[in-house]
Point group: C2
Chain length 347, copies 2
């Protein structure tokens, strides 16, 4: 069945090759990729620790496009596998790594500008350095935005220390894609290890979004375009309570000029919430018109058959019209005449 | 307008008098109540730290019943102000305090058995001691259940250390009301203090519920009746991801016999979610028939006009029939012929 062009804002990349640890092996968490048979099996290491098995879907435009054609995805926004954000490294080697990753993503976009948009990374453990680097992301690498972890070495993004970075993103029109990373809750869940991937990631994303709202980031930088993976995690139930609190306390004693829900409506959210009724809640109650398709391609807990998911969800009010590509275009800041994502693809 | 009898499962008590610190002042967080003009103004201290301003609504059956009549509430389940759970004290003084609080709640129930049910407290920092004490809660104090913090000194409730307590609750038919307390996330939110009450409490409740599910407590104790304040906090979005993970991993490699949503449907949830559409999501997608009215009376962020809230929500599928009193009776384990909550009250 024909459908509008579908843009997936949530898909990850690991370059097939990563630079060597510039200190010659002294950095414990420096990432590397070791190939057995690369098409089907490679291993990402963080230092000496095996981190994740991947295959050429992580770097091959050709292989990705085969899958996209099958899934009816016209264009993907490519972002680094979150572990590559490397906020735990020293800023200078982190910058070197970030430039390599940004270059690899930029090359994939350059190879198939009709099918890919690029989201890069900057070393936010040093906000001034990150701000400086963000200035060149578009021109140097051909990227449309930047992926950011839900917390940066323990700090949620509402912290004023990140203002220099947000100022550049606003000025340059960079899309900011927030993805859960090293959830702070993991520390409390050592006796409940299954809760880390299934609950911790979702919580950390929600707390990050709540921080951006309550700490006034959208008030200071009204032009920012921020999108959240996994539908903003647990933001919706937090937001209802925050909204009630705002109304009961005269706007938190005047500290927050607009209501939490007014800010939340300006964010974008991907659709990776694993439940159509919850997606409807987001699309109708939290952020009408702001839900983008996000699949988490090519990882394990990815959205299967995004078209069927959307078309199921499209039976419900408010999800259907903008989720195919309109919300994604507004989030990424690309026009309908941009080269990628114009074609309808039939699986 | 006439409506079915309304039972509020979420209302708190502070006794007007608390016992003196048995060590003569050595315990830093021992609670006390200092009256200025008790009817209108009293102060709860935790040790020397002023904790909360209260008034006689916290202990007076007469005063509460005036408000209940105005709000159309037939019966309240009385539970301790969560800070009184005192899991941070040594077990023996904590037991002494718990018995005093349980006695005070028991007296309120005895004074007006037509309007109150009682939920007590046990010193869960010592699970064996808590289990022993739980055996007598019904007969000694006339209570129908126990309030429990979302974490106990840093441990979520799915931890096997709490099994002895759950075994007694199951055997005695005690209702367990889980309320957020000292959210573990607070530690990460020191630069975002507003997020602690508005996001941290909600997150901690959700992680506690997720822990009870994923750690198999309902599998080990299928007869437990557990209810969560604030609609289970952030459980709903966590649950959707957990359910997808369960389905993608052969039940977490066989570790969890039933799906997370199957367990979640057996919990009870109060209605204090500050949003009718989110309440509908809980009532239709998470736990049909298991939503109870909860107001958080008599505190600041309480549900105003519960009848109007329910009657608004009742226009939506699945919320209306059981929320008035049926779910609360099943949660509390009290029959329709129980003395409290039989009358319709008109405001």
């Amino acid at each position: 069945m024909a459908h509008p062009p579908l843009i997936d804002v949530h898909s990850h990349v690991v370059p097939q090759e990563l630079p060597a640890d510039p200190t010659g092996g002294a950095i414990g968490a420096w990432p590397s990729v070791v190939c057995e048979a690369c098409r089907t099996k490679a291993q990402v290491f963080m230092g000496k620790r095996p981190f994740r098995e991947i295959d050429d879907r992580s770097w091959s435009p050709t292989r990705r496009i085969e899958d996209m054609d099958q899934d009816g995805v016209a264009a993907q926004a490519l972002s680094p596998m979150p572990e590559l954000l490397s906020y735990w490294l020293d800023p200078n080697p982190a910058l070197e790594l970030a430039r390599h990753v940004n270059g690899a993503i930029g090359q994939m976009v350059a190879a198939r500008p009709d099918r890919f948009f690029g989201l890069g990374t900057v070393p936010l453990q040093d906000p001034e350095l990150a701000a400086k680097e963000a200035r060149d992301l578009k021109t140097r690498f051909g990227l449309t935005g930047v992926e950011v972890g839900s917390n940066v070495a323990g700090a949620y993004l509402g912290d004023v220390r990140f203002d220099p970075f947000f100022a550049v993103c606003e000025a340059e029109g960079l899309a900011i894609f927030v993805h859960s990373l090293h959830p702070l809750q993991a520390r409390d869940l050592s006796r409940h290890p299954m809760l880390v991937p299934f609950a911790g990631f979702t919580v950390d994303t929600g707390l990050c979004a709540a921080s951006l709202i309550m700490d006034g980031v959208l008030e200071r930088f009204p032009g920012l375009r921020i999108g959240f993976s996994h539908g903003g995690g647990v933001l919706a139930p937090l937001l209802h309570r925050m909204e009630f609190g705002w109304g009961s306390t005269n706007g938190f004693e005047g500290k927050l000029p607009q209501s939490p829900k007014a800010y939340a409506r300006r964010f974008f959210y991907d659709s990776l919430v694993y439940d159509e009724a919850y997606l409807e809640h987001l699309a109708t109650q939290i952020a009408p018109g702001q839900i983008c398709l996000g699949t988490d391609y090519p990882y394990l807990i990815q959205q299967p058959d995004p078209r069927a998911f959307i078309e199921g969800g499209a039976a419900r009010t408010g999800v259907s019209d903008t989720i195919w590509n309109d919300a994604a275009r507004r989030f990424l800041g690309v026009s309908e005449t941009a080269s990628a994502g114009r074609e309808v693809n039939h699986g």
